[in-house]
Symmetry: C2
Subunit: 364 residues, 2 copies
């Protein structure tokens, strides 16, 4: 603002930016390179795209000209004519949470390794319209394909009305209509947790669940219930949470009030498990001596909870990599492929927060 009369983008810091023969200030284009190299712009294009049938000597001359002019290819123009932007879209919900953040991270890594860029839309609230809008925006922006991290039922439904012909992969998207899906085996993971607790001699296992709209929450409930039912144990009413530590704390207070009756809890994620642990500690209930707690996710903190949390690990990295593989296959096929379903196994992680049923507990 205090400069000499608004330099009007003529910033001539000696940035070493080479200029062509003409005194243009606009960045050089293919035609400029062609002129310098003494070839046609098409030959420049061929060199850039690694076409065969370019004489080695010509290639060298072109590369030299590119170097001399500091030429950089204009991807926008390229995208216009090829109809491919080499960009992928990602729609996700609250990328602040550990799970989505990790998934998106590995998606980005995998995409970039394959030469694709990633545009992100993070949704604050989840509803069908919001997801649909995000998909439309991304389609308008010309992405070649979209990964939808759609862990809610309502988000998964929005996949029914996606832009025609757009390659899409749903992560944690449940049995969404036509689209391919990559997800962690929530049901099996929940089974592992519940079986572990039963194996330790507990009569039954209580459950603090995630929000009812979430498919993951649903899967974890299903696995937990399956095991209890199969073992002929009573199935207590789940206490609902919303993934937050606070909601776990609230549930923990209620569990504490039932201590003696309750000896084992499977909590649907580690953050809520932290809240449960806190509530139990406050009420003077020792974990695992009086009550066993198992979480889900294996966030980096879990190992250092008091006590270290027994939990179920999700391999978010594998989920991200797999989803990109599937998506790129669709994009490269350039036509509808049979829908794929991939399930990444969950892994049980035993630590110190679950142990044998306390002797004093009443067997009913």
């Amino acid at each position: 603002m205090s400069e000499q009369g608004k330099p009007e983008q003529g910033n001539e810091l000696g940035k070493g930016q080479p200029v062509g023969s003409t005194s243009e200030r606009r960045p050089p284009v293919m035609a400029d390179v062609a002129r310098v190299a003494g070839v046609s712009h098409q030959t420049v294009s061929r060199v850039l795209n690694d076409h065969l049938n370019v004489r080695a000597e010509t290639r060298i001359r072109v590369l030299a000209a590119i170097d001399q002019l500091g030429y950089r290819r204009n991807f926008v123009a390229r995208a216009l004519v090829t109809r491919h932007s080499r960009r992928l879209g990602v729609v996700s919900f609250d990328t602040t949470l550990y799970g989505p953040a990790s998934t998106v991270y590995s998606i980005e890594q995998a995409a970039r390794a394959a030469g694709y860029f990633v545009s992100i839309v993070s949704l604050r609230t989840i509803d069908r319209a919001g997801v649909r809008d995000a998909l439309d925006y991304l389609a308008d922006q010309g992405v070649d394909g979209i990964v939808v991290v759609a862990p809610q039922r309502s988000a998964a439904q929005a996949l029914d009305d996606l832009p025609a012909g757009m390659p899409v992969v749903a992560v944690e998207g449940g049995h969404a209509g036509d689209v391919s899906v990559v997800s962690v085996d929530q049901v099996a993971g929940a089974r592992l947790a519940t079986e572990h607790l039963l194996d330790l001699g507990h009569d039954t296992v209580w459950h603090v669940s995630g929000p009812s709209d979430w498919l993951e929450a649903e899967g974890r409930i299903a696995g937990w219930r399956d095991v209890l039912t199969a073992a002929g144990r009573p199935v207590p009413e789940p206490l609902d949470g919303d993934w937050s530590p606070r909601s776990g704390y609230v549930a923990g207070r209620r569990l504490a009030a039932m201590a003696g009756d309750v000896t084992a809890v499977f909590v649907a994620n580690d953050q809520m498990a932290l809240g449960v642990l806190r509530a139990l500690t406050e009420e003077g209930i020792r974990v695992p001596e009086q009550m066993s707690v198992v979480g889900f996710d294996d966030i980096p903190e879990s190992e250092f909870f008091s006590p270290p949390l027994t939990t179920v690990r999700q391999d978010f990295g594998a989920v991200g990599r797999c989803s990109i593989e599937v998506l790129l296959r669709q994009i490269e096929a350039d036509g509808p492929l049979a829908r794929e379903r991939h399930v990444v196994p969950a892994e049980f992680v035993a630590r110190a927060s679950a142990s044998r049923r306390p002797d004093g507990a009443v067997r009913n």
Copy 2:
């Protein structure tokens, strides 16, 4: 793969996708709309861009045609001619960490609210070349501006050689050469934490620091050291960590071994503080009765640590919003502006992990 002879993108699910008069399968373009509305393509463009001087009746006819054909504007073609993509780039390091994840999230929200899309590059490792490459890639992709979440010294240095003429804002970027910077006041935050502990009667305060390359770690050390020095207290050698709970745990073991001498610790982030708490718990050292612990960040979990963690809150949302404001100002000015510096204040959050100096402690 098992379909009838490769439908070749002719998926005729009755998607309600309206088609033009011709039997083209390609999406309609402006010229198609113009034909249907009986106007020129330029008039369609004017309607779309809210130009004045379009008769109301004409506008209605054009909008009707757009609706009928299901026309969607091609942003790539638009970007080619306008030289503006309405897309921003974000370069960040390990978006799995709470701080970067929150910052990137709020950047994305703010950008989208302003009508911009966001392309992300997450760096796995930080070095000058990596950051420079990321900047170049994004510039090639035609973003209108870039936010660099550059909390490391080496990343901040890479800002010295960024693409000429590209608007850039550094988040947590320290005193990076020419570019505008938005950051949280790390030094003041660390002061608050340290002063609080001194106010509680502790003779001095130990410190578990972040990795030395990080500017944030440096700022927190500076604030901590300032306060101790100003108060004439001994300044213990900081124990280094790497932000991870595990490194906090390791530091915590060492602190536990010195219990009695050490009565107060300021830990550079909440995750490491968790590790410290765990180590102290294992060694039977009660917090805060025997040792006070203060963290930094106020992650959602902190409130539910045992004991709930006294810490310093960073308003990542404000940082993200502010950085987008600054960046958009630069972009809209379309020329170099005076560099800006914005500092977001940190907020002290008192909980239960810090208390008065234990009586038994030796005053040296």
